[in-house]
C-alpha cells in the first residue's frame, strides 16, 4: 500500500509499504477514504518532535471502511463506515473509565520512555513519534486500529466524509479547548490562532454561551474565515498591539477566557522572539510559547487560560508571576476524543454545524509532500488540506 512517511526535516515521501495486519485481538483494519494533515503534523515536519524514525508513517486524522476485525472486536463488522479518534484508548483503565481517554494507561507500548520524561505516560497516538507509541499513522491506504471496540465511531447517516472527518481530531480539540475555558453565558473569549483548531474553538465558544469571540492571527485569509464563518472579531497582531487592543475591546478588563490554539511554533517578534529561536536551535527550549505568554498576560484577573497545545517538552519564560498574581486558572490537555465524538456528531447531524468549512485544499495522497510544504508555509490561503488515497 502507499503511505506518507517521515524521512527528516521537511522530508515526507509517499512510499510503497506492506499492508498492516491484525496483531492484537482487539485490532481492526480500516481502509482509508479520507485523511487530513494536522497543524501538529507540522511540528513533525519541522523536526521539533524527538523520537521519530525514518520511515515512520504519519497522520492521525482519518476515516474509512472497516475491512477486517480481530476476534475480540464485537461491535464492528467489515463494511462499517468509521471515523477513528487520533488517540488510542483501552476503555478499561481508570482514566478511560473516567472519560479521560487521552490519558489511557495501557495503549503506549513505549510507556517507559514517556514516563521518564513526563512522570506517567499518556495514551498512544497515531503517527506521532515513538514517545507516543510509534503507531503507524492514518495518511495511508490502510491503517491498523488498536482497541477498535473503543475508538472508532460508526457513521450510519448519509453525511459526507468531509462533514465527519474532523470528529477524529480538530473538532473535539477545539470543543474541548472551549470547554476547558469554563465559558459562562455572556463571556468574552479571545482565541490565539485561526488555524483549523482555532476556527472550531471559535464556533465552540459560541456554543458554550460566549457573547463575543475575538480571534488573533496574522494571516489575512484565516482572519477573514474567522470573521465570515466564525462570526468573530479579529486582531491582526502584525498590525495591532494585541494586549492594548484586547484591553480596549473589553472595557479595560481583559477577556474572561483565553484560548491558545497555536502550539509550540508561535511567531515570536522582538527580543523574546529572538531568544526563543536561539533557545530552540540550541535545543534548550522545545517550544516557542509566544501565544501562551501573551494569553497569560492578556487574560483578565481571575480568568481562565485554555491551552489546546501541542506541547512536547519544555517552555521557557512563562510569566508565572502574572498567572499567580492574577489568580488565573490554566487548563490544558490532549483531547479526550472518544468522549466528544458522539455528541458532536449529533450536532452535525442536526445541521447545527458543518466543520467542512475549514477545508481549503483537496488533494491526492500522492501529493502529500507538496501539501505539507504548502500548509507549513501558509501558501495559497491554505487552512486545511484533506487527502484522498
Amino acid at each position: 500500500m502507499r503511505a506518507v512517511c517521515w524521512f527528516g526535516r521537511s522530508d515526507v515521501r509517499v512510499e510503497q509499504v506492506p499492508d498492516p495486519q491484525i496483531i492484537n485481538p482487539r485490532d481492526a483494519i480500516v481502509k482509508t477514504t479520507l485523511t487530513a494533515i494536522c497543524g501538529s503534523d507540522l511540528h513533525l515536519y519541522d523536526g521539533y518532535i524527538p523520537t521519530m524514525k525514518k520511515g515512520d508513517i504519519l497522520g492521525h486524522e482519518f476515516m474509512g471502511k472497516v475491512v477486517e476485525v480481530g476476534p475480540e472486536v464485537k461491535n464492528l463488522r467489515p463494511g462499517d463506515r468509521v471515523v477513528v479518534p487520533f488517540s488510542i484508548s483501552c476503555g478499561q483503565c481508570y482514566f478511560c473509565q473516567h472519560g479521560m481517554y487521552s490519558l489511557c494507561d495501557n495503549s503506549n507500548p513505549n510507556a517507559q520512555m514517556a514516563e521518564n520524561m513526563y512522570g506517567y505516560s499518556p495514551a498512544g497516538l497515531f503517527g506521532y513519534s515513538h514517545l507516543m507509541g510509534g503507531y503507524a499513522g492514518g495518511q495511508a491506504e490502510y491503517v491498523r486500529v488498536p482497541f477498535a471496540d473503543i475508538g472508532p465511531l460508526k457513521i450510519e447517516s448519509g453525511l459526507g466524509d468531509e462533514q465527519v472527518l474532523f470528529l477524529s481530531d480538530v473538532f473535539p480539540t477545539g470543543y474541548m479547548a472551549a470547554e476547558n475555558g469554563n465559558i459562562q453565558q455572556g463571556d468574552t473569549v479571545a482565541v490565539w490562532g485561526c488555524g483549523p483548531v482555532g476556527q472550531l474553538a471559535i464556533k465552540s465558544a459560541y456554543m458554550f454561551g460566549a457573547a463575543r469571540v475575538i480571534a488573533i492571527d496574522d494571516v489575512p485569509f484565516r482572519l477573514e474565515m474567522a470573521r465570515t464563518q466564525g462570526q468573530a472579531e479579529t486582531i491582526n497582531f502584525q498590525e495591532q498591539r494585541v494586549l492594548e487592543t484586547l484591553r480596549d475591546m473589553t472595557g479595560g478588563m481583559g477577556p474572561d477566557v483565553c484560548i491558545e490554539a497555536t502550539g509550540m511554533e508561535g511567531q515570536g517578534r522582538g527580543l523574546v522572539g529572538f531568544y526563543d529561536r536561539v533557545m530552540q536551535a540550541m535545543r534548550l527550549e522545545t517550544g516557542r510559547p509566544v501565544a501562551l505568554r501573551e494569553a497569560i498576560v492578556a487574560c483578565r484577573k481571575g480568568g481562565t487560560v485554555s491551552i489546546a497545545g501541542v506541547y512536547g517538552g519544555f517552555a521557557n519564560m512563562i510569566p508565572m508571576g502574572a498567572a499567580f498574581n492574577k489568580a488565573l486558572t490554566i487548563r490544558m490537555g490532549q483531547t479526550h476524543v472518544q468522549k466528544y465524538m458522539q455528541p458532536l456528531l449529533n450536532r452535525i447531524q442536526e445541521g447545527k454545524i458543518d466543520p467542512s468549512f475549514i477545508i481549503t485544499h483537496r488533494m491526492q495522497l500522492n501529493e502529500a509532500p507538496q501539501a505539507y510544504q504548502m500548509f507549513r508555509d501558509k501558501q495559497d490561503d491554505c487552512v486545511k488540506v484533506v487527502l484522498r488515497p
Binding site: 496483531i23 481502509k31 510509534g134
Partner: protein
C-alpha cells in the same frame, strides 16, 4: 591416598568435604606446623612438615583425603551454599495499581500459566498440580533454562508465595500481595522476587534473565501484567508497516511481543534481541526486516473482509 584426590588440584565445588571454618583452621595450623617442622631436624621434623603440608592442602583445596576415605564431610552442600548466599543474590520489588478487584488480580496471578504472557523471557509455565509448576525460560543468546517451583503460601485474594525447588538451575523465591487501594480505585499488586544466581555458566544465563537493569525489567513486567489484566492484550507495534525499504533497527524499550489470540503474519525475520542501556532507560535492539518486495493487495477485500487471522 585416593587416586582421584592425588590427581586434581582444581577447586571443585562438588568435591569439597571440608567446612569453611575448618578449612581456615587447617590452613593456619598447617602453615604453622610446616614452618615449625622445616626448622627441626630428624624424623620429628619431617613428620611435622608432612602433617603441616597435609593440613595446608586440605584447607586450601577443601578436600581431605582422610574424610573422603571415611565418607565424611563437614562442608555445606551446594544447595545450602546457594541459600546462604541469599544475601548476595538479587532482590527485586515493584508494585502497581490495577483497575481490578483483589479477587480478579489474585485469580489472574494464581494461574501461573499467565506468567509467560507478560514476564520477559519466560516462555512457558506449566501447572503440575499439588502446588508445583514447571518454568521454561529462553534467554537471548540461546540459553534455555528450566526449573520447578512450589507454592509455599496461598491466601486467596491476599497473597501468594513460591520458591524454586532445591537443586534447580535457578534459585528463585517470590511473593505477590494484593491489597485494595484506600480510595477504592482498584488493587495494589506488590511483587517481591529473590534471585540467587548459581555459579558456572548458568549463573551467567540467570544474569541475562534479569538483564543489566533488573529493577527496570521487573517494572516492565508489572506494566505488562496490568495491561494484560485490564485490557486482555499488551500494546505493541511489532509487525506494523513502515516506510523504510531495507531492514531497519528500531529502538523500543522492553516490548514483550504481540498479544494473545490472533497473531497476524508479522513481516519480521531474524529477530534478535540484546540488552543495552541508554541513560537510565532500558532498551532492546531488534532487527526488524520488512518484506520490501512482496506487497499484499487488499483491493479484493471490500465488504467481504474476513475476521480473525491475518494474512
Amino acid at each position: 591416598m585416593n587416586s582421584q584426590s592425588s590427581r586434581s588440584f582444581k577447586l571443585n565445588l562438588g568435591n569439597i568435604n571440608v567446612g569453611d571454618s575448618e578449612r581456615v583452621i587447617s590452613v593456619i595450623g598447617g602453615s604453622a606446623l610446616l614452618l615449625y617442622g622445616m626448622f627441626r631436624r630428624g624424623l620429628r621434623g619431617t613428620l611435622t612438615t608432612l602433617l603441616g603440608g597435609l593440613l595446608l592442602y586440605r584447607g586450601t583445596v577443601g578436600r581431605c583425603p582422610v574424610y573422603q576415605s571415611l565418607g565424611v564431610s563437614t562442608a555445606r552442600s551446594p544447595q545450602e551454599l546457594a541459600r546462604m548466599r541469599h544475601q548476595q543474590g538479587v532482590k527485586l520489588d515493584e508494585s502497581i495499581v490495577v483497575n481490578k478487584t483483589p479477587q480478579e488480580a489474585y485469580q489472574f496471578w494464581h494461574d501461573f500459566s499467565n506468567m509467560s504472557r507478560f514476564m520477559n523471557y519466560v516462555e512457558q509455565v506449566q501447572d503440575q498440580g499439588g502446588g508445583r509448576s514447571h518454568w521454561v525460560a529462553q534467554v537471548p543468546g540461546g540459553i534455555r533454562m528450566e526449573w520447578d517451583a512450589e507454592l509455599i503460601k496461598d491466601k486467596p485474594n491476599d497473597m501468594i508465595s513460591w520458591q524454586s525447588v532445591p537443586g534447580s538451575d535457578v534459585n528463585q523465591a517470590g511473593s505477590v500481595h494484593f491489597e485494595p487501594t484506600p480510595d477504592g480505585r482498584g488493587t495494589r499488586v506488590e511483587l517481591h522476587l529473590d534471585y540467587v544466581p548459581p555459579a558456572g555458566p548458568l549463573g551467567h544465563a540467570v544474569v541475562n534473565l534479569l538483564g543489566p537493569d533488573p529493577m527496570n525489567q521487573i517494572k516492565e513486567n508489572m506494566r505488562r501484567f496490568k495491561e494484560l489484566l485490564e485490557t486482555g492484550e499488551i500494546p505493541t507495534t511489532q509487525g506494523q508497516p513502515t516506510g523504510s525499504p531495507q531492514a531497519q533497527t528500531t529502538t523500543i524499550p522492553g516490548q514483550k511481543g504481540p498479544g494473545q489470540g490472533q497473531q497476524g503474519t508479522m513481516s519480521q525475520q531474524g529477530q534478535q534481541g540484546n540488552m543495552s542501556e541508554q541513560g537510565g532507560t532500558q532498551s532492546q535492539q531488534r532487527t526488524v526486516s520488512q518484506q520490501g518486495g512482496a506487497q499484499t493487495q487488499r483491493t479484493g477485500r471490500g465488504s467481504s473482509g474476513r475476521s480473525g487471522t491475518g494474512k
